[in-house]
């Protein structure tokens, strides 16, 4: 926490080294969070960059976070994704193809894993916004339950229940014969 405060202090002075460190630390988790929600590589990259642009604007306007950079960045990422969905600027869809099995796997295993990944991402899009939010924070942003609860202003019990229901729903969607509508 002390490190983050120091980092924030230096970032407020637009210290290049501190800003680079912030970008290195948070770009990937933010991208993962966004990618889980938008399922489009190009959009996920653009929106991730937008989160950092907003950080600089907040630093410039003296409205940057005072204590928790991580929580603040998450909140901005969530807002950026919501803004994106509100405006329906989903022009291009470059299917995400990350996390494919290694080349040491046989072709059948590669195909099976690719299908599972694709189905999982598609199924994610069918969950409620709140469920997507929780799963993206938990598994994209790697946020522990306690932090998710704090970030969303809910109890840990509520988040655990939301997570369990979302996982159960996803499982149903992934059952053979289920539709992702």
């Amino acid at each position: 926490m002390q490190d983050e405060l120091t980092l924030l202090h230096r970032a407020r002075a637009l210290d290049a080294e501190a800003l680079a460190q912030i970008h290195d630390t948070y770009y990937v988790p933010i991208y993962r969070y966004i990618a889980m929600r938008v399922n489009d590589r190009e959009t996920a990259e653009d929106l991730s960059s937008e989160v950092f642009t907003r950080l600089l604007q907040a630093l410039r306007d003296k409205s940057a976070p005072q204590n928790t950079l991580r929580g603040w960045l998450f909140a901005v990422a969530a807002r950026v994704v919501n803004d994106h969905f509100r405006q329906h600027y989903r022009i291009h869809h470059t299917e995400l193809e990350e996390s494919l099995p290694g080349t040491e796997d046989g072709p059948e295993r590669v195909l099976e894993a690719r299908m599972t990944q694709k189905e999982l991402r598609q199924a994610l899009q069918t969950l409620t916004e709140e469920q997507q939010h929780v799963l993206a924070l938990r598994f994209g942003f790697d946020m522990p339950i306690k932090e998710v609860a704090h970030a969303l202003g809910k109890s840990e019990g509520s988040i655990k229940m939301l997570q369990a229901r979302a996982v159960a729903m996803l499982t149903r969607k992934l059952q053979p014969g289920a539709t992702n509508a």
Binding site: L14, L19, H23, P65, A75, R79, Q175
Partner: protein, 353 residues
Amino acid sequence: MNNRLEQLLIECLDALERGETAEQILARYPQEAAQLRPMLETAVALSQLNLQPSRAAQLNAKNAFLDYAASLRTAPQSRRAAWGGWRRLLAPLVTIFALALLGVGAGWRANTSLPGDALYGIKLLLEDAAMPFAPDRAAAEQARQERRIQEIQQLLALGRTAEVHFASLITDVSPETLLIGGLSTELTPQTVLTGEPVIGARAEVEALVSNGRLRATHIRITPPQELPAPTPTIIETAVPPQPSPPVSATATLTSTPTPESSITATPTSETAVATIQPSPTPTITHTPTPVVTPPTPTMPPPSPTATPQENTNNNDNGNDNDNNDNDHDNDNENSNDNDNGNNNDNGNDNDDD
């Protein structure tokens, strides 16, 4: 999913978060293992959904981020909102000071500076100072707006990063871009758009120039000049004091009423244009703009209700305008909400900690 199974799943997901494997967890619930297994596998698959950005995208994003930060460091004077008021107050003093200290050479350098340059603020000050002495203020203001656009074109050509502000007319509209003052202005998911982007409307734009692209952050649109709303044309001299049955302007009869006629001529329709003139030969002509001529002086002429009270009705237009103003205010508030909302939403919750 029943309550018990849901509770078990919550416990299983807790255990998964603590680092236990699915098999270890399922071993604790042999009776429910068959039901829990697919759900735990889904959770494991989610955690292994190892979404990673491309290295190139990450590097480009970082470079753009640091470039933008550098532009903020080197050009704090481009923060229009922060010192826009001071600029006007200090303009004459600073101009004199700048000219005295820097001389014509520095003034020339400022004049060729671009947004993000150290001397760009001086350039704006010089413009502000010269504006009151311009023989034609409108032309000078127009020239200033054109300079802003030329500066942006130069920034784009140079591939530089800077915050810019300009205003001009919209000449083309597409889902992703607006052509404003000849500049292709990209709309991003984060663009806060106030007003309806239509060709001919005036747009005031705040944008970021970066890597040869102009991406709008805020666009405020003023609708194109609207035609005045049609208002009934009332000739007040046609309001005779004599009582008479009202004549409806919407009547479909074509007739030459005698003094005994009781045809009504009440321009009650807001859209009707009723011109009422006394005439010795009363006629009613039915056209889109009916002309109702009251009866001859031998009988009491019609007394249309289109009196000054009708003018009061015409004030509806004024009320509408008021409403529009209110709408506009609301729009502005909304746009502010958007800006602040980013920070206020959950971010502030966290900040409080």
